[in-house]
Assembly symmetry: C2
Homo-oligomer: 274 residues x 2
């Protein structure tokens, strides 16, 4: 047990971290700051936290920022002189750091940037799951300002709840996750706009899998798209070109061309041999 | 037991029907015509069929066309005088019927048009699964020419292997499945063209679910897109407009507009109360 944890935002991610770290015995006390009264109540009811607080206690040993990504930068600024280790879960990293540096000149030395590759279409503390991070990847995007000892402690938190750690350069992180996570969500949202209730009687497993992420939290995703738009927009353009190419092959009845585009797409999903 | 079944194409769907109908004791004898020698061998090895044949036997009581959709029309023409009941699994119906009518003036009276809403990203007889159709929907698209008795028999086949039957008008069928099945496949194919091996180390459950259908059989899907392009192309245009709208909201930094588009998409995935 290593003292106390404060969590900013006790939704799916914050709540799952709370549950997992309780099971791993990481902290003696866990409190959360949560503006949504329904979420706050649910978090207490499920025993995710010991108390809902109005302010981050001065003596917290660690502060987890599990708020929507667009709130992370202002929390980093606000907590820059806090004695505890501050770590986050925002799925945008380079753009976030640029915003913080623009505001206060450098990143706070108490900050360890993290992005757990775990989530689901459900949200809120009612969906919190102590196994959410088990065998999942957590990306650490180290910075010039990062403190080695604090980084080690945060990595140990994640490992204690079953996650693996990998390091990535922040801008590269944003570019890669714009393609592998943010773009699929965007496409699922755009696709579902064309679906009406009468269609839902006529769907199979393909539809369900493809559109599952389309049920994800709108606030969270609008914030991610805004924060990471510099990396995301070029991927959207590239997708539109690929779609146009396939569309033209179909429109012109060039079945061999469609087939070859589909075949090439399929091979891209195959994981390279390790 | 009701005599003998011939299957044209012993891949995932033909093989699964063979397995399921064996378990249900529907036929005394099952043979298949299969141009791919590896598939033919695998089907024999797994005991899906009693024999691989070069021609459909004259005395077959039923013939299942489980070939790629672009071959179905020519098989319907070729078998129009066959004594057995001919039924298929093509995921395009109205366009297929139009093609057959254009070629021979009317639909063969031995034909019962079927579309089982079951499939997966795996293909070939090695993926055949006797439970594939259990609790799945099979769409029957009746025509002016359809024979009531034959239709009843085919519906009983599907019910015997656990499927539910629903009737749809053929053109409406093509329009609806273009949106709920063909378009998601097309989008997954276009998306995967932009994904490179180095990205695959950085994917979560969202990517896996979203792109699963992108691993589907290229021959089968190129044929479906060609056959159903009249219904599919307007859905592609509509999708492109929805994507443009979301893209413009992101590009202009209008987070409220993005949020509202995402929110509306999300509600479209909710099944109406029955």
């Amino acid at each position: 047990m290593a003292g106390s944890l404060s969590i900013v935002g006790i939704g799916l991610i914050g709540g799952s971290f709370a549950l997992a770290s309780r099971e791993a015995g990481l902290f003696e006390r866990i409190v959360a700051l949560e503006p949504n009264p329904r979420h706050a109540e649910k978090a207490l009811e499920r025993g995710l936290v010991d108390e809902i607080v109005e302010q981050i206690p001065q003596d917290s040993d660690a502060v987890l920022l599990a708020c929507p990504s667009d709130k992370t930068a202002s929390w980093l600024r606000r907590l820059r002189d806090h004695r505890g280790i501050v770590f986050d879960v925002a799925s945008v990293k380079g753009a976030l750091m640029t915003a913080v540096r623009a505001a206060i000149g450098s990143l706070p030395v108490n900050y360890v940037p993290c992005h757990p590759i775990a989530g689901m279409e459900k949200s809120g503390p009612e969906a919190a799951d102590g196994r959410l991070f088990a065998e999942k990847l957590v990306i650490i995007t180290p910075t010039a300002e990062i403190d080695a000892e604090r980084r080690q402690i945060v990595e140990n938190y994640w490992r204690a709840i079953g996650a693996r750690i990998e390091e990535m350069e922040p801008i590269e992180h944003d570019r890669v996750y714009a393609l592998t996570s943010h773009l699929p969500h965007l496409l699922a949202f755009a696709y579902l706009q064309g679906v009406a209730p009468e269609h839902l009687e006529h769907t199979g497993g393909g539809f369900r899998d493809f559109s599952r992420i389309g049920a994800s939290d709108p606030d969270m995703w609008a914030a991610i798209f805004e924060l990471n738009k510099q990396a995301l927009l070029p991927h959207i353009k590239q997708f539109q070109e690929n779609l146009d190419g396939l569309c033209q092959a179909i429109e012109s009845g060039n079945v061999a061309a469609s087939r070859s585009l589909i075949e090439s797409a399929r091979t891209h999903r195959t994981k390279p041999k390790q």
